[in-house]
């Protein structure tokens, strides 16, 4: 029963997400891993804290950033655009080893940093060799 409910919620979310991620920009990311965690940095210029949505659904990490309106009311003449006024979306699959309870996200000057810590059981362990 619980599973069915989850599935219906997921379908509802998917429909909403499908409409939200239509025509989105794909932000550039750096992804770096060390023994304790995987860290993701994403360039999201023009996104503030209210416009940012980072969430994990099962094994997918989804990043969604809504661009704040650029306030182009004063525009009168020609313009040149390299960054169209669109939102950002990108998603990654993550493995079992990520400790979902302790994921931390921070947005500063248009750069999102997400730290995905690894759970204790998958961290490398040194095996002590006993002699004798």
């Amino acid at each position: 029963m619980a599973e069915k409910n989850t599935q219906s919620i997921a379908r509802k979310d998917d429909a909403e997400l499908a409409s939200r991620i239509k025509d989105t920009l794909v932000p550039h990311v750096d992804i770096c891993e060390d023994k304790d965690s995987v860290t993701l940095y994403a360039d999201l210029p023009g996104v503030d804290k209210e416009g940012l949505d980072v969430h994990i659904d099962k094994d997918t990490l989804q990043l969604y950033g809504r661009r704040a309106a650029a306030g182009t009311d004063a525009k009168t003449g020609d313009s040149y655009t390299e960054m169209p006024d669109r939102d950002y979306y990108r998603a990654f699959t993550i493995g079992e080893e990520v400790d979902r309870e302790h994921i931390a996200a921070n947005l500063n000057n248009g750069v999102l940093k997400v730290v995905l810590p690894k759970s204790e059981r998958v961290k490398p362990k040194k095996i002590v060799i006993k002699c004798g």
Binding site: D23, T24, D30, K35, L44, P45, A70, S79, G110
Partner: protein
Amino acid sequence: MQVRWYDGYVPTFNDFFRLRDELDQLFDIGLPLSNIRSVPRGTFPAINCEEQKEAVRIDAYLPGVEPKDVELTIEDNSLTIKGRRETQAGEGNYHRRERFSGEFSRIVSLPDGLDSEKAEARYHDGILSITIARAEERKPKQIAVSIN
């Protein structure tokens, strides 16, 4: 910065459009005839320009750059945006390194009749907005018609 946009509705197809764009970029395929000062697509920082009645506005997309690390100069109808961005993250292995790192410089041609003394720059959420006012004598004026 190489942020791309796509018309595809289905997110899966984004990857195909992206592949095409990246191949174009790899071989720097553009128009057969280009301005000698033009820059390839995806040059960091991305720039939007807009003509306004009283001013011209240039937005440079500079996420993660400290304003003190950016130098703005206006000279002979051109605006230079120059600086440095560090994207070091720390120890560990990189799986992806797509974000621009290092020195950057872009020159934007400005229209005639701007007053470089009246230029303002503001940095907000990773976007540097530069507004340069039009010179007084260039602003549109209304001429009153007198009746004899």
